[in-house]
């Protein structure tokens, strides 16, 4: 059925500065656990939402210059690969699984982690590193991705994300 409407029907893109805020806490350093946070951050930024990503514990691997381009995926302990668990421990399996996952991601035209972080920053997202994780791993801002705005305490992060919705990964 067709309905005729005389007044122009215009999509509601929402008011600018609606005040919605999202905090994404990335605590994992596996390749497969890096992407959910990045994809959600990117999507939220595209919807005009203010986004703050906080990297803590193993999540530091996502912003550590040494490791960020070389995150890995392992089938060990992951029943969702639907492979016999014993296979995951075979030599070379992590390398193989990582290559396959990277290929599948690239085929979707989704960037690798460092480039994806840059896209998040270019879209207006904020990256923060956890003070305790930095101290534990003896890392300074020098060791971290240049776009990380600072190494801050958990309390600082809670303060700057007041009123935000939180996603913990």
């Amino acid at each position: 059925m067709t309905t005729q409407q005389t007044a122009p029907l215009v999509p509601d893109f929402g008011a600018d500065g609606s005040g919605r805020k999202l905090a994404i806490i990335c605590s994992k350093g596996n390749l497969d656990m890096a992407y959910p946070g990045l994809v959600l951050a990117n999507a939220a930024l595209g919807e005009g939402v203010e986004v703050h990503m906080f990297f803590t514990f193993w999540g530091f691997d996502m912003i550590n210059k040494k490791t960020m381009g070389n995150l890995k995926f392992t089938p060990i302990g992951n029943t969702a690969t639907h492979m016999p668990q014993g296979l995951g421990g075979l030599p070379g399996m992590t390398h193989l699984a990582t290559s396959q996952m990277k290929k599948a991601i690239a085929e979707l035209d989704v960037p690798e982690v460092p480039e994806f972080l840059q896209q998040v920053v270019d879209s207006g997202g904020h990256l923060w590193a956890c003070r305790m994780s930095a101290d534990m791993q003896h890392l300074t801002e020098e060791n971290l991705y240049d776009e990380v705005e600072g190494i801050i305490s958990a309390a600082d992060f809670i303060e700057l994300t007041e009123g935000a919705q939180v996603i913990f990964i």
Binding site: M1, T3, A7, P8, L9, V10, V39, D109, G124
Partner: protein, 104 residues
Amino acid sequence: MTVTTIADRSIHVDAEGFLTEYDEWDEELADTLAAQIGIELTDEHRALLRYLRVDFADQGETATLRRVSAQTGTPVKRLFELFPAKPAKKMAYVAGLPKPRGCV
């Protein structure tokens, strides 16, 4: 399906207001669509809209922000300046195309 009147023309749109008929769009209409969402089109905007139209005809779906940036060489930051807050959706709307369905 809904028919709405934009710039004295009958235009088919979906429930949200995105155009559903590729051929009902032209550059003149784009000016009106853009004005309705508070954007005044410049040549820089129009070049992006033309790319989106061609890419849609070619690929059968609307380019995502990343694709627009990569294929046109326009930095993501600039896309956010040209089509503020929700660039992918706003570009699609002004180009007379459906919202992009890709996640990235």
